[in-house]
Symmetry: D2
Subunit: 337 residues, 4 copies
């Protein structure tokens, strides 16, 4: 961490700050040029806030050299993390497709979709029971009952299941759920992240609509710092000025996260595009850019879907897409097993 001091900074005030920093355990390496005075802080700078230093009268600016995350950092863990979800591996060359409806609507619906996506080759089943909706008047999901139906679909097909949690209070309801999803709106719900850090479930952590990649990795760090290292990152489109699609898929997030962290990276082209016909090109692009998995919405009757109908594929459309996905994954040297 480099502290750039103000040119006109008062000597005594600098001495006071220096004392505080030494008390925090840092070595200070000073460097004084004609116009600029710098201090290099040596020590574990993840414990110090940039803002603490910026608030000081003698400080012009602060520049981090080390990343503020540790456990998620690829530098600490050079190899890809491979997560095994009841036999389905993801990361380190293993590719998985998670598919299913936006929300669970009935026993027939979820079981029918589960059987369909299994037949097409999906490795995990998704389905929402607790739904975060912008409007209080929109369908909020079948909630507890939805979880029950999802577990019935799991029993019927053997597919591990992924579903979203909205508050730490619900955690005990998720006992038999294989992957707990943290939605984009909850990426910085830190109480939820802390609670998930204390369990041993795999967490699928979605990037917030306007969160930087560093913030996403810091949220993963919250979970990992609590003791749970089974975190999968998910890019699902960010909010920009463009209005012709729902969100802008940040495809560069894949190589950038790959460099920053060892965690598996999944792309959700359905939410990024918000339009069914755009799912295929985005899915293939994600594979080409190096993703470890995809999360795709499939509904047996999109026109009656209680949520996200426009972006849901039919089982037939998904089956066609899976053939292309499989070939593309192989072409780019990964395996779907």
């Amino acid at each position: 961490m480099i502290v750039i001091l103000k040119q006109e900074a008062d000597k005594e005030k600098k001495a006071v700050l220096k004392g505080k920093l030494k008390a925090l355990g840092f070595d200070i390496h000073e460097s004084k040029g004609r116009e600029t005075e710098l201090w290099g802080l040596v020590g574990d700078t993840s414990i110090i806030d940039d803002d603490y230093l910026r608030a000081n009268e003698v400080v012009e600016d602060v520049k981090r050299v080390q990343e503020p995350y540790k456990m998620a950092n690829r530098k600490m863990h050079p190899e890809d993390t491979v997560i095994d979800i009841r036999g389905r591996k993801i990361g380190g060359g293993h590719f998985q497709v998670i598919a299913g409806p936006c929300s669970i609507e009935s026993k027939e619906q979820i079981i029918e979709v589960a059987e369909d996506v299994k037949k097409s080759g999906a490795g995990l089943l998704r389905g929402g029971a607790f739904k975060p909706r912008t409007s209080p008047y929109s369908f909020q999901g079948l909630q507890n009952n939805g979880l029950k139906l999802l577990l019935e679909a799991k029993a019927a097909t053997g597919l591990p299941v992924v579903t979203e949690i909205m508050t730490p209070e619900h955690l005990e309801l998720f006992e038999d759920i294989d992957v707990v999803q943290v939605g984009a709106r909850n990426m910085q719900n830190f109480q939820l992240l802390k609670a998930l850090g204390k369990c041993d479930k795999t967490v699928l952590l979605k990037r917030g609509l306007a969160n930087t990649l560093e913030e996403l990795v810091m949220s993963a760090e919250y979970i990992m710092a609590g003791g749970n290292e089974n975190v999968i990152l998910c890019e699902r489109g960010i909010r920009t000025f463009e209005t012709s699609m729902r969100n802008t898929l940040d495809i560069s997030a894949i190589p950038m996260l790959r460099k920053m962290t060892h965690l598996p990276i999944v792309i959700d082209p359905s939410h990024a595009a918000g339009i069914r016909w755009m799912v295929e090109p985005l899915a293939l692009a994600a594979i080409a850019a190096g993703a470890d998995g995809l999360m795709i919405e499939v509904h047996n009757d999109p026109e009656s879907a209680l949520c996200d109908g426009p972006q849901s594929m039919t089982p037939e459309g998904f089956d066609e897409l899976m053939k292309k996905i499989r070939k593309t994954v192989e072409f780019f040297g990964k395996t779907m097993d």
Copy 2:
């Protein structure tokens, strides 16, 4: 709500959709031009999702004419809502300044700051006990103990207090807190909003970093739909491409929210700017644009602040600012009482 049909739409499929909409209780007013066929839906369209219609094969697009919010809508409640917080009124010409430190750090600190800001004319005291921090390694607030210290400052000064809640599980700890703040990162933590809808506390709802004004009002609607109509909206800067300041204060939010809703509107210039010297011009601009209140960070020793030091004013600086605020509020025809 206007449904624009595809030109080549199949007759039978249109009939099916029409049947579904009638079953939902809508009257349909049809209009067929040479190139465009439109249906106007008459009825309570807040119960229907745009996406439900867009998912239908025969639908080209959907256009809402009515706003999706009801209780927060100024059309339903033309007069400004005035909220009374233990004698401090806000809204409808009543202006309030909420001031205090980012986080409560010690008994001495919070009581000293409370006394200072009271002397300068602040109407409410703020102070964070539970702190949402990007890094798990940053100071997370004094938590329960922080709440206790804040209540001691309330007892010592008589100032009503404002502090942030991060999860519904904590609600019972907030019994003696006057105003419960929902932070920007939790604006769409719907479980929290629902829980707050069931209590009778005043809620200060902050706009998320990348949330539209409509989404902000919809989050207020969540609280109001639960039965709690005491909601204050707070704009605190949005995330844009500009890098020279922390966030971009959306000053237009004030007149636009004023038109959309009857709820009081508060501006937080400290978080918007992230820099102490910029608080004054933004605060005065907010008054000029019609805000009902300000929320300003004040710390007795910003250089030692455990959080947000760079944006915190000293008590002396705040005292100077309050003189200008008072004059400006009067100039623009509001009262600070």
Copy 3:
């Protein structure tokens, strides 16, 4: 075009507006519901501004059903446009790679790079002579002399050349240039677009940093409306809140533009990422998403490059990448000839 009228609109004022619209040649199809009155305008609505209608006191809102572009619209021209640049075809299944340095620095440099990229299989040579730089103190390009050197490289290798134009006054200097590039900062330099509409050169039109896809197509329409239909669109990254990379590549632009227009679509991963090591994954993703070509910066000595060094590949790196590009283009069913 649908005009939504205000509920309380004055009858006489509506009659006046109706008269004006009829005088402009529109048929008006009226539709009156209980709460909403709509007019459908039938006729060529590309001649009318939404704002002209919105300014009218009786108008609540306006909704376009038809796109505001005509010649660039795929609906008017369902087949892909194929552009032939001295034998190099692009569009409709033909894929091209444009490669070369950010700026032309010397005869040796541009000829060496030209020979290198030709050997690796690039179809066209790029090189900047007039450089748009944020700072007046940065290298502004070799200008006229740069164009001369680029034409020498063209003569030496036979590669068609692409270079940027910054002002209509320079057009005569570009006589022997094969493809004239309009940079992101000039996407809405309408005088330049009009001048290019009057010549018969192929124009590579880059999307502005914060321009919507519709605005990009409207800028192409400016050139086409002038009589020049040889326009290639180029996505090169947009400006968002994310700071870990230079720009955010909008990969969804490829399928969306494909639907909107028949013009060829090229991706510039070098400018999008701003970092050399990220060029490969973005290039492959672009092919997977359906791009018709790539534009890649290559420099024989990136560390001495006068501009954009961090994103320039070495000739060796580019040669490796071209092998992957060729295989990927074939895998996705296009040809590089």
Copy 4:
């Protein structure tokens, strides 16, 4: 300028880079910590590109301490620049209102509006002759004839005139124009900026829709570096994710530009909001935040305006607003003369 070197950087390569930097005239102040090696460059760093350094294999990152602008920098010119436009002063406590229609449509229109805004107290008349329009099919302005009509309005009222230039080729047509406006879309049309740098006219430089404040000041620097120091900066709203208004007025730009530069700062609330009724609160907020002037659209018949009707005020509305503006300017200690 601080160069942060990679930990594993090769010694010989570092020596080579050091040699290059010394050859460019820099003194290098080295500082080597346990984990970090830094070089402080001493000399005129405005001549060096950050990217030139970032492209070097041994460089981890680069951090500027000095701003890249010189002539526009407040550090070089601590006092506010006051520009005198035929007797109307702006900057340094002098406040001006520029008013008039979006486009000049007829002799009657421009003279009538000119007389109206003069009566209400506007100091300068605006009116567009060359109009940058997104669509080639929209009204493009009366062009040369528009300039003529604007000069007739100037002759009739004595008001200095402001109008937009779109290309350097038109500069000679602007001989009698008092203030030449560079529109948002041309903020980085560097050929135009260079041409304006060589004349002695006052330039009103508008911020681009997605340009940072530093980029805006760099564009001013282009004009100033050419020899023309009469530059007024104008914030007119930026492009964000918010859709309820046309653009987001960046009110913080006022204090931030004030700190960065000595040039006068004008706000255009009409373009920022895009809606007539929002002009007043934004105008008053701009004064409160410290602006030196306002630019407001006024049309004698907004409903027939060929451009920007929804945001144009009527002369009566403007007259009311001017009374409030005058009082507010005085309240905040500036003079309108």
